[in-house]
Amino acid sequence: MPQEVGVQYKEIMKKYLESQSEEDLYVGQQFSRRFIEKNIAPEDVISIHKNALYELHPHLRKQVWDSFDFLIEMMIHYGLTLREHQSLVRKQEAIQMEMNVATKVQDTLLKTTSPNVRGLDVGWVSKPAQQMNGDYIYFLNQEHASSVAVADVMGKGIPAALCMSMIKFGMDGLQFENSSPRNVLETVNRIVEKGVDDSMFISMFYGKFDSTNGHFHYASAGHEPALYFDSATSSFAELDAKGLLLGVKKDAYYEERSIPLKAGDFVVMMTDGVTESRTEEGFVEMDTIQRLLVDVKNLPAQQMAEHLYNEIGGMQEFRLSDDFTIVIFKKELE
């Protein structure tokens, strides 16, 4: 460690010993902040201190100096921990960089294209609570139908990301003729069941808007019910269907249901990050969500989704405790 640190230390301490002023302690502490950066270990500080004291008061009894040697010995393990910390910080930075790359890869890998089918207005928002999103939206676009899978992978981070890529490629391989919600969930369930071990579960809601007859078909693998807004009565109903989480059982059965959508009706598909949003006052009530949706029911679907996120996210100061995903399918006015 540089000689000059010792000289400065002595000067600052000398002033403090004369004045005992807060100012000198402040100067001293500002000075000490640089120690760690300069790789000066705590045992080095004791040694610097001992030397400074010796130069200022050389005639103290021998035991004082011996006691400093003892103190140095007691500090060695702190010095080791400090160096360990520095290596851990570097490791952590490397992991952070890796996560940044992984997030970019995931974004590119999982990108999906909003549907564009006549008569349907689609909006969506998906925000991760931490760096990597464990919620997943997949759009399937066909000539006369628009479908969406909204999934929530249990767990977060890297394992969840791997699972999602599996879902994506599984769904990429789906043939047109099998794209009914029930068939999709059955197929994806088989892929997930085969591909991952028992500790991984995925909930999924699959909704399909058929533009030929204006019906919304859906099935659910243990997912949050969707919300259906009936514009005629200005009331909400939950859309749910029976079905196990993906990956639990090889030959799971998924119920398929449907509902006609009239102009101005909309369906809101969500993950539990929306319905179980926690604020300082407790969970966000379903009533609140419905009220927020009604407030903006005449806006385009994308603005509706963003409004819901801004309001509910805002209630928790955007410190989400879970990934937050909303997809809105809204039947356009003729």
């Binding site: 807060e22 302690l25 402040y26 502490q29 760690i36 910390h85 520095q86 910080v89 410190r319």
Partner: protein, 133 residues
């Protein structure tokens, strides 16, 4: 048990005044030398943040008690630019590598309780308490 003293932070030397006040109050409250130094360091960091980022503000120090336990509460407030990304500010900066000193996470660690309220364009208020154990 409701005497609140305060120091306006305008120049760097006010940081020293705030420290001095904090150390005196901590001593009077019965904290030992090491905890006095910790409380003083927390005040020092809060005051420096005001000085560096808000330009000016105020440090208030109050002796408090709750359920028979005594402690010292520090309120650092300013009408500066506020903190846009609280999550980021509260993240460990790993002082080893950074040059910014202890920062918010450091203050949180030096004390027992910690709360920030901040609005962009409105200012920031940080309230932090240490209890006599």
């Amino acid at each position: 048990m409701n005497c609140r003293s305060s120091v306006e932070i305008i120049t760097e030397w006010d940081i020293v005044a705030a420290r001095q006040l904090g150390r005196n109050e901590a001593k009077k409250a019965g904290f030992g030398t090491v905890d006095q130094a910790r409380i003083t360091t927390a005040i020092s960091e809060l005051a420096r943040n005001i000085y560096l980022y808000a330009g000016q503000g105020k440090i208030e120090i109050e002796r408090v008690s709750e359920g028979g336990i005594f402690g010292i509460k520090i309120i650092a407030s300013d009408e500066g630019p506020g903190i846009a990304d609280l999550r980021k500010v509260m993240e460990d900066g790993y002082s080893t590598s950074g040059g910014l000193g202890a920062g918010m996470p450091g203050v949180k660690r030096l004390m027992d309780e910690f709360k920030v309220v901040s609005e962009v364009g409105e200012g920031t208020t940080i309230t932090t308490t240490k209890w006599l154990h």
